[in-house]
């Protein structure tokens, strides 16, 4: 017999004998890999599609010129077009426009309209040319026509030649759907108009959003870009396609990475299950291995055998996981969308593509995780001296040795150290490493905790006469904690992560709720369905609104989008009246502020969001040059405010400063406080009766709050699903471990039945063991989870999303989950124990192996 066939016999024999346990380990790995892989697939698909869609809009342009502000003067266009090195300059005006009948405060309910010069676009992005009806060529230049992508037509329920009403400032505008954008990407909601028509009809005369450039052949892009950037000065950004990709990538990177990390958690839980399955298998087969060693199998052969088993398990589980993950991804895209509940990739209908490299990567991760889970028990099996193992009653020596506390303590120490390290590439790499080390260390210490806790308990109960069942349970938990703890590895990992996520999400939610209360203090918020960079309300309309009856106070907001760094998404500028004496009345400030009294005379104050600090290095007390109106002006950063709405940064300045510097008196939003006795409904009716009333977007702050929280919950829905999956895997692991241990303990039960334990007593003993262990596990899981939540809240979130939050522990919810876990684990143990009371155990006392 060759050693290969021996290896196969052993593997097949072992697996056949313990199908359930192998299956659970397999499922754990498969589910872990599947979750991670499907999330990766969905995210990648959504991201690729989103970036392809963005690229689609700019066609084959070599470069883009944008303003710091969202819109800039068109005089740049002829200047660029006349540059010797420029082959084509393609001017574009882009607006997100509200559609009549689709009014909503949410940005994804707006229609993106691109204004193009078809003759220029034809040379750079021909896909953007609308297809008019036969013989209606000039529709592409007409001032009352619009071309819609198929997805936009479907969304708006219009066909060619239908009318479409949209808001242009305070007016409605009726456009004729002149045709389709047949080459728009699937799901891409997009409209195209003639650029001249658009400037006119949407009151954007003289403004452009960007100019795309195609350079003459042979022009050095880098040199040209540098020269152009210098000539254009700081008001404009020159970006290459790669910069734009980076920008799109930056937009969702933190979100994608964090979701991937969560997905890996499921896999991580699987690793613990593999470990416990393999470790138990080693214990069970201790004598078998000893016999093999006696018969002449070398240590290395034995080690190889165990590792081979791990590889088989890992490969099989990973393959299963890849197929499952692909299936999940396809179905998720089919039935949901690519957003996974978030809104990072709006208006995108991605397709899943099989990428062999990613598949191999996830296969590798699954395999590695399995091997890591197998290696420690395998080494243990190889190390054992056969003579010792052949002796009865030596099963436990195996695991006791694993419990040296040092590796665990080193892990915990490492975790502590990593929490102090800064992010890498703006990603909380060390934060996640700290979480991993914390988990590993915590779980590795579990046997010690178990032994310590139960021996303490035993000692305390020593004086009392306790029943046989209790005595047996306590003795087992005290004296053989490793096996017991091993069963809990998976559940401990998943439960502590669940606790961590629950605390983090609830803290986030509570913080946001609180924050919404602070940032939405007024009764009503009124804005125009706008269009571009102009504030929708001019002075007369502002007065009309303020002059309505029953209004106590009106605060006016001017908001603008600015680009401060071409590789980053836009930041938001808010200009609004801010209570100079106590800005806290207006803004949700952190503690990092300069007292208003200590400001020198004549400086203009600026309050920046936390993201500005992390991304742009703004510090309190610092003087910064900031573009307002046509040029840069000096502001002093006087405070930092929490902003959960814009992770890419936002600043607030006094409206008076803004209006003085820019000469722009228009505003975007009016916050309205009603007088006592005035109902919100009446106020809304009054506003609707204004001659521009129908164009107003009027939101109650309560509705906005509810909507914000709804969006919040939706974006975390995937998180909940992932965590639930992790816990289910953990429970499966408990079931499998318990049932394996029950099998391994058949002789023990057989003897106990002989000496007079009833079936019920044995079941009670198993339930008590399971329950007590789980109770301890959940307690430890809670402590571990709480620590992890601190890392999530105070390290991972600020580093990824640049916002901080206050800690909030959802006690009742956690208790309920813990109770549920306790009951599930006890029930699982009971079900596994049914074998323990079958007739076979009685015969087990006679089988020595």
């Amino acid at each position: 017999m060759t050693s290969a066939s021996l290896s196969r016999w052993l593997l097949v024999g072992e697996w056949r004998a313990h199908v359930a346990q192998v299956l659970v380990a397999l499922i754990a790995i498969a589910i872990g890999v599947a979750m991670a892989y499907s999330i990766h697939l969905i995210n990648t698909a959504a991201f690729n599609e989103f970036s392809a869609a963005s690229k689609h809009l700019s066609g084959q342009a070599d470069m883009q010129v944008r303003g710091r502000k969202a819109y800039f003067d068109e005089s740049l266009y002829p200047w660029l077009a006349n540059q010797k090195d420029v082959a084509v300059a393609n001017p574009m005006l882009e607006l997100d426009v509200a559609v009549v009948g689709k009014q909503s405060i949410r940005s994804d309910q707006k229609l993106k309209i691109l204004g193009i010069d078809m003759f220029r676009a034809a040379q750079i992005s021909p896909d953007l040319l609308g297809l008019p009806a036969q013989g209606k060529t000039l529709d592409r230049l007409a001032s009352d026509t619009i071309f819609l992508s198929p997805a936009a037509m479907e969304w708006l329920q219009v066909q060619q030649d239908d009318e479409l009403q949209v808001y242009a400032g305070l007016h409605t505008l009726t456009l004729r759907v002149a045709g389709g954008l047949v080459r728009a990407r699937a799901g891409q909601r997009l409209a195209v108009m003639d650029i001249g028509a658009m400037q006119w009809r949407f009151e954007q005369l003289g403004l452009l959003s960007r100019i795309e450039l195609k350079l003459q052949p042979g022009v050095n892009h880098h040199a040209f870009k540098a020269r152009l950037a210098e000539e254009l000065g700081s008001s404009y950004w020159v970006t290459e396609a790669a910069d734009q990709e980076l920008r799109v990538e930056n937009m969702s990177r933190a979100y994608r990475i964090n979701l991937n990390m969560l997905a890996l958690v499921a896999l991580f839980t699987g690793a613990f299950l593999v470990f416990s399955a393999q470790a138990l298998s080693v214990i069970r087969r201790r004598q078998q291995f000893a016999l093999l060693r006696v018969l002449g199998v070398t240590r290395v052969q034995l080690l190889r055998q165990m590792i081979t088993e791990g590889i088989f398990l890992g490969a099989l589980g990973s393959l299963l996981g890849l197929s499952l993950g692909y299936l999940i991804a396809v179905m998720a895209i089919q039935f949901l969308d690519g957003n996974l509940g978030s809104s990072f990739f709006p208006g995108v209908k991605p397709g899943i593509f099989f990428d062999p490299i990613a598949a191999m990567l996830f296969f590798g991760i699954g395999l590695c995780v399995t091997l890591i889970g197998s290696i420690v028990p395998a080494m243990e099996a190889a190390r054992t001296r056969p003579a010792l193992a052949l002796r009865a009653g030596s099963e436990h020596a195996v695991i006791e040795k694993l419990a040296s506390p040092w590796p665990a303590l080193i892990c915990l120490g490492g975790a502590l150290l990593f929490t102090q390290l800064p992010p890498i590439l703006e990603l909380p790499v060390f934060g996640y490493l700290a979480i991993m080390l914390l988990l590993i260390g915590g779980i590795a210490l579990m046997p010690r905790f178990t032994a310590g806790f139960f021996s303490f308990l035993t000692a305390r109960l020593h004086r009392y006469q306790i029943g046989a069942v209790s005595a047996l349970v306590l003795a087992r938990l005290t004296n053989a904690p490793s096996q017991a703890a091993m069963a809990l590895g998976g559940i401990l990992a998943s439960f502590s992560l669940m606790v961590a996520m629950a605390i983090m999400v609830m803290s986030f939610r509570v913080s946001i709720d609180h924050w919404l209360g602070q940032v939405l203090p007024a009764d009503l918020y009124v804005r125009v369905a706008t269009t571009g960079d102009q504030g929708g309300f001019q002075v007369t309309q502002q007065q009309d609104i303020a002059g309505l009856a029953g209004i106590e106070r009106v605060d006016l907001f001017r908001t603008q989008q600015l680009i401060l760094d071409a590789s980053r998404p836009e930041i938001t500028l808010f200009a609004r009246p801010i209570d100079g004496n106590d800005p806290r009345n207006t803004l949700p400030l952190t503690d990092d502020v300069i007292a208003s009294g200590s400001l020198p005379e004549g400086v203009m104050p600026m309050w920046v969001s936390e993201a500005m600090v992390d991304l742009y290095g703004y510090r309190v007390g610092e003087r910064v040059q900031f573009p307002v109106g046509a040029s840069f002006h000096e502001f002093v950063v006087v405070g930092i405010w929490r902003d959960y709405g814009r992770q890419f940064g936002a600043v607030q300045i006094q409206l008076a400063d803004y209006q003085r510097l820019s000469g722009d008196l228009s505003i975007n939003t009016a916050a309205i406080w009603l007088r006592h006795g005035m109902t919100v409904d009446t106020a809304i009716e009054d506003m609707r009766r204004l001659d521009f009333g129908s164009a107003l977007e009027i939101s109650r702050s309560s509705d906005m709050r509810a909507l914000s929280l709804k969006i919040f919950d939706r974006s975390f829905a995937v998180t909940y699903v992932l965590e639930t999956v992790a816990v289910i895997i953990g429970l499966l692991g408990v079931g499998a471990s318990f049932s394996a241990q029950t099998l391994a303990r058949a002789k023990e039960f057989g003897m106990l039945r002989h000496v007079g334990m009833t079936r019920r007593q044995i079941l009670a003993m198993l339930a008590a063991e399971g329950g007590l262990l789980t109770a301890l596990g959940t307690t430890l899981g809670f402590v571990l989870g709480w620590s992890i939540s601190l890392i999530l809240i105070f390290i991972v979130n600020p580093q990824s999303f640049h916002w901080t939050m206050q800690l909030y522990v959802p006690w009742s919810w956690l208790l309920a989950v813990a109770l549920l876990m306790l009951i599930s684990a006890a029930l699982t143990a009971l079900m596994a124990g049914r074998q323990a009371v079958s007739g076979q155990v009685i015969r087990a006392v006679k089988e020595d192996w």
Binding site: A81, R120, T137, S143
Partner: protein
């Protein structure tokens, strides 16, 4: 342009435009159906006045400056060239204050026939007028589209500069003869209805000097060219299917222009010819006196269209034979603007005697794709 008749030109221009807009022939009808227009019709008994009429006429829908000619480089190899600038009034956006408002479009074609290359090199551009990037000015010929331009200097000399990726030209064209008013003092009919007409004058025998760029290498050239300037608002007869046009500088200093508008039934809808002798005497031929007869056809490998590239033309008692410099002088720009026609340098015999060189234009030979 070279197609002198109003109708031919209109149709041609319209064709060009619609092709440019990626559409097929079928769009002719729609423009004709335009209900309300601010554009002026072409009327008889209108007196052209120069230099004003060298410039653009914004009140008319379509206008073009069209130059064709034969060039010779140092190696004595002949080259043919064609330069056209169109101005097209969209008749839209009158009230639009935007600088991008698409009121006028400028379209330009550049083609070079090079027997050594064995085919026609050509390029087209279109742009809306505005920002100084594209315009057709009034008062004198001054047309620009990005870096392409055609300007008439006060002394009557034209300057053309048009460079494409692989080829281009930079020419100076000096008049040697008086302006030739086509039709009735510049009122040129294109069809049986009187409103189917254009204002049309030609400048034959322009003396050309300058540089041609082939593969970005400059070659000094000289030669002789023909300029047409034509503007109109009305359109071809709805029965028209295409046209054949020729303009030729004859060796003895005479100038010939002839065209026929073909009907959908293959017959002649309208025809016209003018022959000016070196002394300046012009002989006009009415539709019945002008007859085009294909002598040889060439099937385009690009579009499968069959063109009568060698043509027999009778103007009353005179027999003309046209022989192409190359067979493949088809402008197939379906990949860009979509226009497809044959526009080629030809040599002429008059009553079997070598007589001169000119350009032949054949349109309407590509069937619209049946979709």
């Amino acid at each position: 342009m070279k197609m002198i008749q109003k109708r031919g030109k209109f149709e041609y221009a319209k064709f060009m435009l619609t092709w440019l807009l990626l559409i097929t022939f079928l769009s002719m009808e729609t423009l004709a159906d335009e209900p309300m227009t601010r554009l002026r019709p072409v009327v008889p008994d209108h007196h052209l006045s120069f230099p004003h009429d060298y410039g653009a006429h914004q009140d008319f829908r379509i206008e073009w400056w069209y130059i064709t000619g034969w060039l010779e480089s140092g190696d004595n190899k002949p080259l043919g060239f064609q330069v056209t600038f169109f101005r097209y009034a969209t008749d839209q956006n009158h009230d639009n204050p935007s600088h991008f408002a698409a009121k006028y479009l400028i379209i330009a074609h550049l083609a070079l026939s090079d027997p050594s290359a064995g085919k026609l090199m050509h390029q087209e551009k279109t742009l809306r007028e505005g920002f100084g990037l594209a315009y057709a000015k009034q008062g004198n010929t001054d047309v620009k589209l990005d870096d392409w331009y055609l300007v008439r200097e006060d002394n009557g000399r034209y300057q053309v500069d048009m460079r494409a990726d692989e080829f281009g030209l930079q020419l100076s064209l000096a008049p040697t003869q008086a302006v030739l008013l086509q039709g009735d003092e510049g009122f040129s009919r294109k069809g049986p209805k009187p409103e189917q007409a254009s204002y049309y004058y030609s400048e034959p025998h322009l003396r050309v000097t300058g540089t041609v760029f082939r593969n970005n290498k400059p070659v000094a050239v000289n030669g002789s060219a023909w300029l047409d300037h034509e503007w109109s608002t009305a359109y071809l007869d709805s029965d028209a299917d295409g046209w054949d046009w020729v303009g030729a500088n004859l060796d003895d200093g005479s100038a010939l222009m002839a065209f026929q508008i073909r009907g959908k039934n293959g017959g002649k809808v309208w025809a016209y010819a003018a022959l000016r002798d070196p002394s300046g005497e012009v002989r006009f031929f009415n539709p019945d006196q002008v007859e085009f007869t294909p002598l040889r056809t060439w099937k385009s490998p690009h579009t499968e269209a069959v063109y009568p590239v060698a043509m027999h033309i009778r103007t009353d008692d005179i027999e003309w034979r046209l022989t192409p410099m190359l067979d493949d002088q088809e402008l197939d720009s379906r990949q860009s603007t979509g226009a497809v026609y044959w526009e080629g340098a030809v040599t002429l015999t008059k009553n079997q005697q070598p007589a001169g060189r000119g350009y032949l234009e054949l349109t309407g030979y590509v069937r619209p794709l049946a979709l």
